[in-house]
């Protein structure tokens, strides 16, 4: 089942990170959600969502090495934790079971 403590935007963010290879910058996550759902997530709510996920231990922040150019900064990057991966699996499994055949109709 979808874990009750996981909001929609949080689940979307986790999924986006997984799509992006398990590790992503904030902007990439928000763009991914936009691309797939059409939903525009603001910098602020993206930030707040990631913060909540980190609080729950589903992601952790890592620091990328600075970009190799003048003024290049270290960037903060969200990475799925094993708990995060498990949460995706649990949530999507129950979702998939609930959808059953409906999935084919509703997803063009």
């Amino acid at each position: 089942m979808i874990r009750p403590d996981l909001g929609e935007l949080e689940l979307f963010s986790l999924l986006a990170i997984q799509h992006l290879g398990g590790e992503a910058l904030g902007i990439a996550i928000r763009d991914e959600i936009h691309r797939r759902t059409g939903r525009r997530v603001s910098v602020g709510s993206g930030y707040a969502t990631l913060g909540r996920l980190a609080d729950k231990g589903l992601i952790r922040f890592t620091i990328l090495p600075p970009e190799p150019r003048r003024g290049g900064r270290s960037r903060r990057c969200a990475q799925l934790t094993p708990a995060g991966t498990r949460a995706i699996r649990e949530s999507t499994a129950s979702l998939r079971r609930m959808l059953g055949d409906l999935a084919a109709d509703s997803v063009p």
Binding site: L25, I27, V43, S45, Y47, R73
Partner: protein, 896 residues
């Protein structure tokens, strides 16, 4: 990937304000990514338009997140001990920082000490004069003093008389207790050991009214204060007890020779008790025992024309003051129907003494406001100055701060730390300020407030608390902006941007602060200049008497029960002694003196067919009176020893009367009749310059002078006037001694300069006060501004060493470098000066009433001040400019 675009300043500020400190950088980075993406997709303009929406949409989630974090974060247990530990480490860190830059620390301390000290000084004085209740007095707010007057003219008549007091005391319904008091000079002892004591005649109800208990002994009983002659008992002050009796209890029962009676000491007032005034008298006597010491003679209980007694009362609960005052006036009308202050239209005002005290001692509210404004301006200048220094220091420490930020110190902690530093500085400044206030307060009191020996110590608790609170406030006030600015350091660019060596050029804030300082200094200096000019104008007033050189000596003969007829013999001997004394250029006897009591008469001038009358005041004098005063003889001759009782009657008139009576004709040789037309005619033998009578600002009155030999009985009073050839204050003592020697059996002779007569002192005080204080504050402000300019320019030069080196390598001459350095600073000072003169010109009408014969827009003063400010700023720039000119080109370039 191209360099990420910069986040606009407004967006950065919003994010910094909204986001948790730890996440600000990440958020800004992401916002920057967002902008870059939008620019790539839809161009710069569209991207920035979208940014507004993006930021606004972001704020609520960010704030929510912050709230959640704040509520949830397991705060580092900020227990008391923990907090104290943090404070202690901040303090020791701040101490180390301050010790490492002693010049900076000293400059800031100096600025704070002066700025805060000026305010502490003023607070102490205002507190003493206006705020603090008199010591040992029970419920002082309930005590009022009665003043008579009219609603339109004000209530200025504070001295009343005995019949009025007696009636109010006996029959009033509005007060619970009524008392009366009158200051009096009490002759103490005889001859060479004679002295004058400050006495206060009081009704027996005075001490009970105040609710004070004696240190030892007792106060007066009602049956000791019975008119017309009360018991010879005295209460002495704590100070007098210590001085005269070394604090021995044996003082009780001792006798004092006061005037012509021996008084028994029955009580000693508690220490610091000053009654309702600022200074304690030496001795308190029942009114009825000392009434005759006044000039009223035996009729003191009944006469109602002369006013000499203050009336105090304690409010009765529930009775409105106005009703009580009206009731008192009703009684006063019955008791003294012929007194001028009971005429119709006049009424009493019952004024709480807490309000009345300040007004009466030259410490009027105007002066207090003026002083307050000035010291506040000085404080502002000091703050601007310190803020400037802290800003410069913050810029210099950017690198250190960036490193600390990079190491994970939170910005909040950093601000706390920097604030600790400025507050510590201010607190240290406050401590020095308390010392400044101690010395400054004593000076101001002595120089300007006529030596009011205020009872409270200089370093009392209230002033100390005020000062430290002010210091704290000032510390936060001056530290907050520099601390915020420093903590805003961009970590990365500051650490990596080695080219700038962690430094930046002076900020716009610093330039603005410089201009503000210059403007404020300008205002203060202008004020000082205007008051100074007024004082010069007053000193240049021709008063007909050299107030700085002429001494006036008097003796209270009646107080020791000698008949006035004896006075002439005594004074003739005294005149001989005084004339023969060293340092005395000339001396004379007169019946009154300038700014002393005045006596009016009628002068009849024989016309062609009628007698015209002129009112004039007159004086009775010996030869040399005019020479002694410095009054010029305009025509004719002075009196001489040849003018005797049996020779032709002669008078000398002043210019004013000469012009009024004879216009352009020569009055010498004319005949006038003084007092009554029936008296024999007196010949005018001379015309003298007009002399001021009651005010240094008055239009002079017509004067007639009569020779003492021909008018002995006209006025009973006698004065000795003497002209000092050397230091007047020293000669005063010589004259006093000479007078005392001439009459060993007589009481204390009072000798003082005309300049020190109460009227003259009182009239010159506001100008002296204004000129001196504004002068001192103006110079303080100028010093502070100079320090500010120096500090900023000096810092600037340090930062620009490389640039200056480069310029010189490319052939800039020393003069170019100098103008480069000075141009900016002088421009700021000039801008400040223009603003300051604008403010001063606009507000000039506010000080106009305080000035004498001086326009608040006096061009000479304005230009002079502008010039002075510019000179000082230039001098302050010269040192750093000199350093800039001698920059070692090689060293500067190699440092690159």
């Amino acid at each position: 990937m191209s360099e990420s675009p910069r986040v606009p300043r407004w967006a950065e500020v919003l994010f910094r304000l909204a986001a948790p400190a730890a996440d600000v950088d990440a958020l800004l980075d992401e916002l920057s990514d967002e902008i870059a993406r939008d620019i790539a997709r839809s161009g710069e303009r569209a991207a920035h338009a979208r940014l507004v929406l993006e930021v606004l949409r972001s704020l609520i989630p960010i704030l929510t997140r912050r709230a959640v974090l704040t509520m949830r974060t397991p705060r580092p247990p900020r227990t008391m001990a923990n907090r104290f530990e943090i404070l202690r480490s901040d303090l020791s860190y701040a101490m180390r920082q301050l010790r490492r830059a002693p010049a900076f620390t000293l400059t800031v301390l100096l600025a704070f000490a002066l700025g805060i000290g000026a305010n502490a000084t003023l607070f102490g004085i205002v507190d003493d004069l206006l705020l603090r209740p008199p010591a040992h007095v029970h419920a002082p707010k309930e005590i009022v003093t009665l003043a008579a007057g009219t609603v339109t003219e004000g209530f200025e008549q504070r001295s009343l008389n005995y019949p009025v007091f007696a009636a109010i005391r006996a029959r009033n319904r509005g007060f619970s207790e009524v008392a009366a008091a009158a200051p009096v000079r009490v002759p103490f002892g005889r001859g060479d050991h004679a002295a004058n004591l400050d006495g206060l005649l009081v009704s027996a109800s005075y001490f009970p009214l105040l609710g004070v208990a004696p240190e030892i002994g007792r106060f007066f009983r009602d049956d000791e204060d019975v008119a017309p002659i009360g018991a010879p008992v005295a209460v002495i002050s704590h100070t007098f007890w210590q001085r005269q009796f070394s604090g021995s209890p044996a003082a009780l029962g001792a006798t004092l020779q006061l005037g012509d009676r021996r008084f028994t000491v029955i009580g000693i007032a508690p220490r610091d008790f000053t009654g309702l005034d600022y200074t304690a008298p030496d001795v308190w006597l029942p009114i009825s025992s000392g009434g005759a010491m006044q000039f009223l003679g035996k009729q003191w209980t009944t006469q109602s024309i002369v006013t000499w007694l203050r009336i105090y009362a304690r409010r009765r609960a529930g009775v409105p003051l106005a009703d009580a005052a009206n009731d008192a006036m009703r009684l006063a009308r019955e008791a003294a129907p012929d007194a001028f202050f009971t005429q119709s239209g006049w009424s009493f005002q019952a004024r709480p003494i807490m309000a009345a005290r300040g007004e009466e001692h030259g410490a009027s509210v105007t002066i207090a406001v003026l002083l307050g404004t000035m010291s506040l301006i000085v404080l502002l200048i000091a703050c601007a100055n310190v803020a400037n220094l802290l800003l410069a220091r913050g810029l210099r420490r950017r690198r250190e701060i960036a490193v600390r930020l990079a190491l994970g110190v939170s910005r909040r902690r950093l601000v706390e730390q920097l604030l600790t530093e400025s507050v510590l500085l201010a607190a240290l400044g406050g401590v020095v300020a308390i010392l400044v206030a101690g010395v400054g307060g004593a000076l101001v009191r002595r120089l300007l407030l006529g030596g009011l020996a205020l009872t409270t110590g200089m370093l009392d608790v209230r002033t100390t608390v005020f000062t430290l609170a002010l210091a704290l406030l000032v510390g936060v006030f001056t530290g907050i902006v520099p601390a915020l600015q420093a903590s805003r350091a961009r970590v990365y660019s500051t650490i990596t941007g080695g080219g700038e060596r962690g430094g930046t050029r002076r900020t716009r804030g610093q330039s603005a602060l410089l201009a503000v300082q210059a403007a404020l200094s300008f205002v203060l200096l202008l004020g000082a200049g205007l008051f100074g000019r007024s004082l010069v104008a007053i000193d240049a007033l021709r008063m007909g008497v050299d107030i700085d050189r002429v001494l006036v000596g008097s003796m209270n003969l009646r107080s020791i029960g000698r008949p006035a007829s004896e006075a002439d013999a005594v004074f003739a001997r005294a005149l001989e002694e005084v004339t023969a004394s060293p340092g005395v250029a000339s001396a004379a006897i007169s019946a009154t003196v300038p700014f002393g009591p005045t006596y009016g008469t009628e002068v009849g001038v024989m016309g062609m067919d009628s007698v015209r009358h002129y009112s004039a005041v007159y004086n009775v004098v010996t030869p040399n009176y005019f020479r002694t005063l410095g009054t010029s003889l305009l025509a004719g001759r002075d009196f001489s020893d040849a003018d005797r009782q049996d020779t032709r009657r002669v008078v000398i008139i002043d210019q004013k009367l000469a012009t009024r009576a004879w216009a352009h004709e020569n009055p010498v040789g004319r005949c006038v009749r003084i007092r009554a037309d029936s008296l024999p005619c007196a010949t005018v033998i001379g015309v003298v310059e007009s002399v001021r009578r009651q005010s240094i600002f008055e239009d002079s009155t017509s004067f007639v002078y009569l020779p003492l030999t021909q008018a002995r009985s006209w006025i009973a009073e006698r004065y000795i006037v003497a002209r000092a050839a050397t230091n007047p204050r020293m000669v005063a003592e010589t004259v006093r001694h000479a007078m005392q020697t001439a009459a060993p059996a007589l009481p204390f002779a009072d000798v003082h300069l005309v300049k020190d007569q109460p009227i003259v002192l009182h009239e010159r005080l506001p100008f002296r006060l204004g000129a001196t204080l504004l002068g001192v504050f103006g110079i303080l402000a100028l010093l502070l501004a100079a320090v500010g300019v120096y500090g900023v320019i000096s810092y600037d030069v340090g930062q620009r060493t490389r640039e200056i080196g480069l310029r010189m390598a490319f052939g800039a001459r020393a003069a170019d470098v100098m103008s480069l350095v000075m141009r900016d600073a002088l421009r700021m000072v000039a801008v400040g000066g223009v603003i300051g003169s604008g403010v001063a010109l606009a507000g000039g009408h506010l000080v106009q009433p305080l000035l004498y014969d001086t326009s608040p827009r006096d061009p000479a003063v304005v230009l002079g001040v502008a010039f002075m400010l510019l000179i000082v700023a230039t001098v302050a720039c010269l040192v750093p400019a000199g350093r800039a000119m001698t920059v070692d080109i090689n060293a500067a370039l190699r440092a690159e």
